[in-house]
Symmetry: C2
Subunit: 344 residues, 2 copies
Amino acid sequence: MTDHPTLPVVDPLDRAAISAALVRWGTRAKPPGSLGQLEDLAVRLAGISGTCPPPVVERPAVVVFAADHGVVAEGASAWPAEITGLMVHAMAGEAAAINAFAATVGAEVLLVDVGVAADLTHLPAVRHRKVRAGTANLAHGPAMTVDEARTALAVGIEVADELIAAGTDCLVAGDMGIGNTTPSAALIGALAGSPADAVTGTGAGLPADQLPHKTALVAAAMERCDAIEDPLVLLAEVGGLEIAAMAGLYLGAASAGIPFIIDGVIAASAACVADALVPGTAARGIAGHLSTEPAAVVALKHLGLDPILDLQLRLGEGTGACLAIPLVQAAARALRDMADLPAA
Amino acid sequence: MTDHPTLPVVDPLDRAAISAALVRWGTRAKPPGSLGQLEDLAVRLAGISGTCPPPVVERPAVVVFAADHGVVAEGASAWPAEITGLMVHAMAGEAAAINAFAATVGAEVLLVDVGVAADLTHLPAVRHRKVRAGTANLAHGPAMTVDEARTALAVGIEVADELIAAGTDCLVAGDMGIGNTTPSAALIGALAGSPADAVTGTGAGLPADQLPHKTALVAAAMERCDAIEDPLVLLAEVGGLEIAAMAGLYLGAASAGIPFIIDGVIAASAACVADALVPGTAARGIAGHLSTEPAAVVALKHLGLDPILDLQLRLGEGTGACLAIPLVQAAARALRDMADLPAA
């Protein structure tokens, strides 16, 4: 294993709090099991926080990590790389989908440039932590060095630590990076042991006739990963800078005992990386929604997570995870505030 | 047809606003279709409001109608009838699931007694509009008179009118009534033309070995409905007082051009009744979630509605519909606030 001085410690879920939550649900004023998946969710939140009832999320934050991908040169995306920087502009102007959703659910939005090819230093709303100006083309070699992967991971951990210290009690990692479903598919395929054609999808609108080409890119990348055992080396070989930072954000949240909500396929690949780096991390995550990308299903199954929403979203930015925040709040609030069963 | 002086007029969806919403989605800063079901939802909201972009819901309200059911005497419920009144007490004390959920999403809760067997007049938080102290046993004859059904329906319409006049811009109807999955199943079976065994479920926890008895009750009730053509007479024959009031609330919302969100199987039966009384009403409704009760699937299919959430909820009270409110808000907000596609 490569040396990982920055990896935080993640505790297993608190079994006593989980047991207490199960007992508490059983005596609330409702038919047993009638809150379905929300009951499981509140039990999970108890295990994450180590308390029963678990605290109700009050200050959620969405951190959107943006970066570019050299593999776009291979024609693996329906969109040109320039869109990454332009969408960060839109987010800085509060005019992207994630801004509308975060405002709806009362979440703070933080934008972090960890690797956009364009210069964004003129945008004060963006935190400038560029590790490099986009990855190298993973079709021709490693996407980045192991040091760069470690640095991007550390950015995510640091942002989590800082937000949590300031009061954030639930974290969502969002992504903006044209071309990033290709590295995500390769990471998920490699970590979940799933073949390229089971993890490659049309992403943000690739025409179906170009899917075989993208699948071949993913297959070739995965083949190079066969001999790699260290998740950080895997991340450097076929990953992305925003994916590394997202994984870091999850590690920071898991280490601090606050829930993190996983978005779509990019986020799921980051969760797979985080869990590979520090086993037990994914058990502290909540799957916000089921993306239409095939690798999302593979990743969530690999991580043992059951998604809350299924709205056929495939936008990224943290949108699907953000929409799950009120459900996470409602589950914990019901467990906390509901009366005992009335005695008839 | 029985005379229905109180039925409001419901306009068809606004086609121009629907077209404008479809065009507007096509030019937002995201891959086409990437917001999945939320795009359909915002288009529907445009059709309901007659404007594009449609207004973002700011003052949602949940109205819980409570009533008892004579059919409980047949052993069709896992719970004694006394629970209805006790749960209204819990709601008045803000200690039920619907209170926790409504507080999470910022919705007002209004409690209306349209037919609870117990005397609740000492509860100031409850609006007292009792039509009768629970229905008659529908296994032995009509659940109520046609006049009583009309009166309960009118209560729902009046409450909607009053709330909308005071600024409510989205309505959820919730139910509290031990035994009410039996009338709901009979109504849905009769209106959707579905056999008793396809619409009868275990409700709030009926043991599986008692399901055949409940199914036989529903089948016998539906058989009496074969000759009934008037939805109001059907409602009186096998319905419930809270179901009638919920249908009225939907008619009031639909008539006023504001969205209403349908909860589980009880709410779905009320939506079927409302749509039978005034065709076009259901097209202005939003299916908040998919209940685990089999009749819910039948009803939503009959009404042509696609549920937003699927969390295996089966609690009622308006809980599932309430949880869909932030998604309804997010859909409209995204359509309103998102920038045009950036020019790369």
